[in-house]
Symmetry: D2
Subunit: 347 residues, 4 copies
Amino acid sequence: MSDQLTAAVVGGSGFTGGELLRLLTGHPDFEVAQATSRQYANKSVGSVHPNLRGTDLRFSAPDDLASVDILFAATPHGVSMQHIDGFQEAADTVVDLSADFRLQTADQYDQWYDGHERPELLEKSVYALPELHREDLPGADLIAAGGCNATATIMGLYPLFQAGILGGDEQVVVDVKVGSSEGGASGGKASSHAERSGIVRPYAPITHRHEAEIEQELGLRVSFTVHAVDMIRGASATCHVFPNERVTKGDLWKAYRGSYEDEPFVRMAAGGGGVYRYPEPKAVAGTNFAEVGFELDPRNKRLVVFSAIDNMMKGSAGQAIHAANIALGLEETAGLDFLGLHPVGAP
Amino acid sequence: MSDQLTAAVVGGSGFTGGELLRLLTGHPDFEVAQATSRQYANKSVGSVHPNLRGTDLRFSAPDDLASVDILFAATPHGVSMQHIDGFQEAADTVVDLSADFRLQTADQYDQWYDGHERPELLEKSVYALPELHREDLPGADLIAAGGCNATATIMGLYPLFQAGILGGDEQVVVDVKVGSSEGGASGGKASSHAERSGIVRPYAPITHRHEAEIEQELGLRVSFTVHAVDMIRGASATCHVFPNERVTKGDLWKAYRGSYEDEPFVRMAAGGGGVYRYPEPKAVAGTNFAEVGFELDPRNKRLVVFSAIDNMMKGSAGQAIHAANIALGLEETAGLDFLGLHPVGAP
Amino acid sequence: MSDQLTAAVVGGSGFTGGELLRLLTGHPDFEVAQATSRQYANKSVGSVHPNLRGTDLRFSAPDDLASVDILFAATPHGVSMQHIDGFQEAADTVVDLSADFRLQTADQYDQWYDGHERPELLEKSVYALPELHREDLPGADLIAAGGCNATATIMGLYPLFQAGILGGDEQVVVDVKVGSSEGGASGGKASSHAERSGIVRPYAPITHRHEAEIEQELGLRVSFTVHAVDMIRGASATCHVFPNERVTKGDLWKAYRGSYEDEPFVRMAAGGGGVYRYPEPKAVAGTNFAEVGFELDPRNKRLVVFSAIDNMMKGSAGQAIHAANIALGLEETAGLDFLGLHPVGAP
Amino acid sequence: MSDQLTAAVVGGSGFTGGELLRLLTGHPDFEVAQATSRQYANKSVGSVHPNLRGTDLRFSAPDDLASVDILFAATPHGVSMQHIDGFQEAADTVVDLSADFRLQTADQYDQWYDGHERPELLEKSVYALPELHREDLPGADLIAAGGCNATATIMGLYPLFQAGILGGDEQVVVDVKVGSSEGGASGGKASSHAERSGIVRPYAPITHRHEAEIEQELGLRVSFTVHAVDMIRGASATCHVFPNERVTKGDLWKAYRGSYEDEPFVRMAAGGGGVYRYPEPKAVAGTNFAEVGFELDPRNKRLVVFSAIDNMMKGSAGQAIHAANIALGLEETAGLDFLGLHPVGAP
């Protein structure tokens, strides 16, 4: 154990922080040196995250950060940028899970958020998604884990760009369905069980901030709408794509296989038999997998792309660990080998 | 009570049949003369539909149809057309809830289904949706209740055509989310609780048959995709519309109010405060209301229209009763005054 | 309409207040003269209760109470007793839905709650449940609607006392399962969708306050435990009863029929065929019905009694309207004729 | 890898079979040599169990069993006993997950089931639960994994017997709540999503067969009732216990710690702070953990014991792997290290 790397999680009481702590606890190469929470300082991690009540981790206040090999910041948007100096002092490698360092320019940031305090760091940070940025991750100082809805969308559309099927000026509608864990651990009336169960609720009908990430990563403007539905984990993106040229199923299989066949965390599901014929959040719940699939709609000259992830995993904590593994030269899949459950609920 | 009209429900053991029986039982102007079910003949209606176990209705075999004022056929697609002569012998007014008489030409039918046995009846039948066909319903012999997903979509888009905002050649993507009651009462592995809970499942990614009805009623080709999500009742249509000309919120309010302000079963919900800012299936569960709303997305020159119905009510049995009320000269809202519940689950 | 009675709802923005407003809106003999809410004063009722957004009701502050025929207080425990004078000034008949006036003595109250401010009113109030107190309701000034879990339990056990099968010294375990609407509209972390979905959570393992009501109404001490499960509406009580003497199914049917066969809102469900063989919250969701049933377990000399209600209806607002109808000499079932839905979700 | 043990799963397409395949796939000491399914022979395992669609396993017909180190039979009750000779020919160690070999005498079996074909094997089989039978497992030929509801109950009550708090003649009521995965993968009307969502359904009001196992393992007759509730995985047992002597919390903590403090898969949860104060199925979903806790109810001289497991894991496949690890001399927790998720849905 003497050669294990030390890790800290700042903001460990939120949902994302809890997932990071779980993944790090089960990771062969990391030990958790610190888990911070101002609200729950000195309380056991298990009193907040019941799945961890068998561990002996305790929260500490975020005021004294331990010196660690890697620090994961699961702090809210706007908070990470305030504390980034402290984070970087505490650790050579910082993985931030907020939106603070995902966009590459202050202009972009200002357009979607409210003024960046440390704009000079934006171009230095690496967007975490390994399927797009595997080459940039080794040795990175500052890594920004992507947004969950953006990740689901990007995973679905990326091969179409790599293969030249899309160029960037096409009409693309992205209709996303997400679970309640996206809203975080803080509660509130709209996310109470009685008000939120069984819903199909347009919670971001237009101008969802993840549009900015998609545009940055793909060079494509998308018409983006997010609905909240009755699940806990999961983000499912249905991309209605209108290519300029005719495309065949063969073209599509070639494109997706070309991009993903060597990817350890991408599975194709496109119209086979059985109950689960296309990507579904249930099929990847609890895992770091993204599922991607498609159908052609010749009647409407449309290509429909489906992708599904667990927003807490591939869309957040799992993506962060995956990127950290690459950044630190570890086995890429270390700590991320859970296969998911069948059957599994909402999800 | 001597002036009550008599009604029969053929296919009374299915979900739609049960809703018809419930509505007719509570209707001031109808009494249920017959409820048929081959499988449950001689059993009490309450043994199948537990909400009706306080009534004394019993199923009879469908072989001997009583002579009634109105007959509702809740039989599967393809079955209604086989028995239509018997239905019309039994009752002057037949309301069919299957897809058999929704399309107006045999060509249309053949394109989406498998050959019509009584094509000469197609042009005589009236599509039930009162908001579009109120004038045609009084005295109609054969009424075809619309499909649930088509109804949700049509209710959302119709005012744009009435107001001239859409002409029929625009790009429109319709992304529908539906509950498990759409699958009917028969069960099956994919609809088992363990496999279906918590899903976002592309169950009709392309070429859903309700496209045909939408095209017929609106004169618009739509790119249509249906997802199954975790609710029981409800159909929610999100229409991503790309108008040819710039449109303002004022134009939209004018269009929707113009079409719907006198409609007893349409409510607008477009971005007010509170938890339920847009149309939601939960807000109309159990009722005959359709909720309609919209947002403008200038960045993408897009108009997003939301509509929500209870697929068993406005999308089926409620629409049928509403149309029957008009056809027979009754109070239009009779028997349909339930306001729905808050809070209410899935839904 | 000139002969309609006027009604006020104090505390109209909570779940119970919303149900009262819905029921009064659809009631043939009442019109809503006032709906109060301090938090939502001047806002439309529909902005809080989406099922009522077709009505034109608005909340007013509770400071100026209108003079009405009947006032329903849907205020929290401890608040009703503070304002009871004002309520009684405003209306000749007050129906309180809190726990403040359910127990008949200050001693009882002190044992389970924290000191009563108006103990002299306790013996004057009538416990609302019509199946037990129909005789006492006509002309009552102050009516206390029973607690939901107590109501479910009492409805299940009452016939055993009426028929002399239980005397009061028997061992009775009551294991209750309830939905999230019992927690009210205010939210909070434990009731957030992500934390509350899919649970079986012992939320009142011992000493639930409704024990006091059961003991008062039946003269029986019960071992009472309440679990929160994944539904919105509904309370289901399973009573494990160990009678002192041997009892037969015939005895039981006689007892339950004796108590309930003329009751308009009680249904028996005891082991028939079909999917819904026993009482289930889903079968009564949205309605004022209680379902009651039983099984004998000779191996363990046990009688198992099942009862199911909608906690918002028979367990609260519906019970209140039912009692009000009787108190004011109206048709007993007026405004309570909704039969419920099939299928219906959680519930 | 050359020193891995080979394993077969007979009946691999059911829910339990799928969990066995998942656990064996991720187990460091096993490789899956065969997964049988008559219905899905030659199809990929991933076409039935979507979480395994990244693996290259395929089902084979059960007619030719490979020779393996260990065979897991996930066949229905009554089927295992017919094929037990073939199973034992194929493998030195057989772990049966049906009810066929759980009871120790033919008399017991006949009382609860329908005649045993191989009664001579009953006394040779070992009941799998390691917390009770760890000593008997090493080298066992035939191991019978316990029933899920029995396991939940036994885990809750066992320490009371070990510590002498219960002797066997006490009154004990066990009220169990279970998820839909208990019903298996085959579907059916009562388990369809529309009929089963949001339920509290008494599905085994009396004489559930798992009473036999509890009686055998604890020497206690229990009044046992099982309710189906809205979750997928999970069994939660609430045991209402009436001890003959007064018992203190100190006695209880001592008893439970005495039995379980060295157990790798048991966690105590008895009234601490936070949202999850007692055992909950959600807190153990996907894991092999059992959670156990209690409260004292002096008013009713009652002890309430709560226990929660994942019925597919501790209640079935996880218990089987745990027992197999011990039987074959492997690390006891191998392959069972998943900590579960937070938050997680139904569950």
